[in-house]
């Protein structure tokens, strides 16, 4: 691990200012992904600003009838919250489908949104990777790509966003709230939070330098049935090959986002609209323009089948 200095900020604006004024500084929350990458010297922050004292761990109702989940709320706290379990079941289901109990006890809302890809070539400093070292090339194209993206990828990078929580937040139309070093706040719709890789796969979100996530707001509950169906190589503690987060209404209408296939939680308006026509039509609309590799072509039918399984479960209930 490269040396770094460390401080515990007192307020969100102070934390944002501390990162903005120190070249190479980063925020640290749970640290479960950042420290992993620091040990491999893939992340090499010069200074860490710890956000644990900022009182960002609260989960509270909003005036609009929704729920605000603090940036520092742990995954376990969010999944366990009775309001989340009752009104936003897709979120609890997505969170408990990810990682292990130990990791969920430490991982936070903000950190999970910023979790970096698990592409094996990103993790291997001896291999070219445009995300780790811009311009060095993509080892995954033509390499081992079974777990990687099939849609929204680019010629520079085919990595996926690996998390589960964000797929549910995308279905719920959550907003990411931030504060910048000047103390200005803004709200970013979660669909605009993560970027497609394009020519700059090392830039993963639309956050600005020093901008700190303070929380995620969920709009009013949608009702309906909530699902998070995750297909993976092991029954527990593995990343998704394909995951479907869905909210389905009694009339068959609904919305869904898919994980494990793209740089961000993948949701398409035309695919939501096609849900009443069945899984085949909805999956086809979702994957329009998909460019799978030979290794991960199986994900195309797997998306349709996973969605079909969710729809069948909705119908049976």
């Amino acid at each position: 691990m490269k040396p770094f200095t460390y401080e515990r900020a007192k307020t969100p604006a102070e934390a944002a200012a501390a990162v903005a004024r120190t070249p190479g500084a980063k925020f640290i929350a749970g640290g479960t992904n950042l420290l992993d990458l620091m040990k491999l010297e893939i992340e090499t922050p010069t200074h860490l600003v710890d956000i644990q004292d900022l009182k960002l761990d609260r989960i509270e109702p909003t005036s609009g009838g929704g729920l605000r989940i603090g940036a520092f709320a742990t995954n376990t706290a969010t999944a366990s919250d009775p309001r989340v379990r009752r009104d936003y079941g897709v979120l609890t289901r997505a969170i408990v489908a990810g990682a292990s109990g130990q990791l969920r006890n430490k991982a936070t809302t903000a950190g999970n949104l910023l979790q970096r890809t698990r592409c094996p070539y990103f993790y291997d400093p001896n291999m070219p990777c445009n995300k780790r070292k811009p311009g060095s090339g993509c080892s995954a194209l033509g390499g081992y790509s079974r777990q990687l993206g099939i849609v929204g990828t680019s010629d520079a990078c085919i990595a996926t966003y690996p998390g589960d929580m964000a797929q549910a937040m995308r279905v719920l139309d959550a907003s990411v709230e931030t504060v910048d070093p000047q103390g200005q706040t803004r709200s970013i719709p979660i669909g605009d939070f993560h970027r497609l890789w394009g020519d700059t796969p090392h830039i993963e979100t639309n956050l600005r330098r020093g901008e700190l996530i303070t929380g995620v707001t969920l709009p009013r509950p949608l009702g309906g049935q909530h699902f998070y169906q995750k297909v993976r190589d092991r029954a527990s503690y593995a990343y998704a090959l394909v995951s479907v987060a869905a909210v389905i209404q009694p009339d068959g209408s609904g919305r869904f986002a898919v994980g494990g296939i793209a740089p961000k939680p993948w949701r398409v308006a035309a695919a939501d609209a096609a849900m009443p026509q069945g899984a085949k039509a909805a999956a086809a609309a979702l994957l329009a323009g998909a460019r799978p590799t030979e290794d991960n072509r199986f994900k195309v039918p797997l998306v349709e089948r996973t969605l079909a399984a969710v729809m069948a479960e909705a119908k049976a209930a």
């Binding site: 376990t76 366990s80 489908a97 070292k133 029954a235 527990s236």
Partner: protein, 211 residues
């Protein structure tokens, strides 16, 4: 000076030379994006309570909680398996909550209360979970066992507290200490010897006794 001596390359010199070249090659490939210069190694003071005893340490900021426990406090019960949060051998409890101590910085634990395997019981007075692991043969080589036991104790606490899991059909329900529940919740602790079924028997016994 002897001309031949100057150009003669000893075996040791050649090896050192090759190693240096190999190291340089690795560095140039491994080099992350050129960024701001790293600061000099920094150390900080941190005070934490471990197994009920207060400790003040002056440590490098890079020290993980696991290394602080093992290398500085000589509590070597918690193990370093993978050092990347994948195996669970380093599991300890912070404020009663289980975490991977390898993925947490010691300096982030100012004022925290840490419980390690050494704090659960003693050889003369085992914690019920330790006793149940012995009774049911919940280990073979024993390397993952401290992490398994810390995790197992915390898992029963999480079930009691109503923390949901992937094994639940209805996430609004209260979880029960069933076989499926415990298997799912223990998936962050890997046992290379495959003592899983015996670990489960030990947990079932303790869960039954405390229910």
């Amino acid at each position: 000076m002897d001309q031949a001596g100057e150009t003669e390359i000893s075996r040791r010199g050649l090896l050192v030379g090759s190693a240096a070249t190999a190291a340089l090659t690795t560095i140039s490939v491994a080099d992350a994006q050129p960024g701001p210069a790293q600061p000099a190694p920094a150390s900080m003071k941190v005070t934490m309570s471990v197994n009920g005893k207060r400790h003040s340490l002056e440590i490098d900021t890079r020290t993980t909680l696991l290394d602080a426990l093992r290398e500085h406090l000589e509590l070597t019960g918690s193990k370093k398996g993978c050092d990347h949060g994948q195996c669970g051998a380093c599991t300890v409890m912070v404020g009663g909550t289980r975490i991977n101590s390898c993925l947490s910085l010691a300096v982030m634990h100012e004022g925290d209360e840490i419980t390690t395997i050494e704090g659960l019981g003693t050889p003369d007075k085992l914690h019920p979970m330790q006793a149940a692991f012995v009774k049911h043969d919940g280990y073979q080589c024993g390397y993952c066992t401290p992490g398994q036991i810390c995790s197992a104790v915390a898992v029963l606490g999480e079930i009691k507290a109503g923390v949901p899991s992937h094994a639940m059909a209805d996430v609004t329900a209260r979880p029960q200490a069933t076989n499926d529940e415990m298997r799912e919740r223990m998936s962050g602790n890997i046992c290379r010897c495959g003592a899983y079924s015996n670990i489960l028997e030990a947990m079932t016994e303790v869960a039954g006794a405390s229910a």
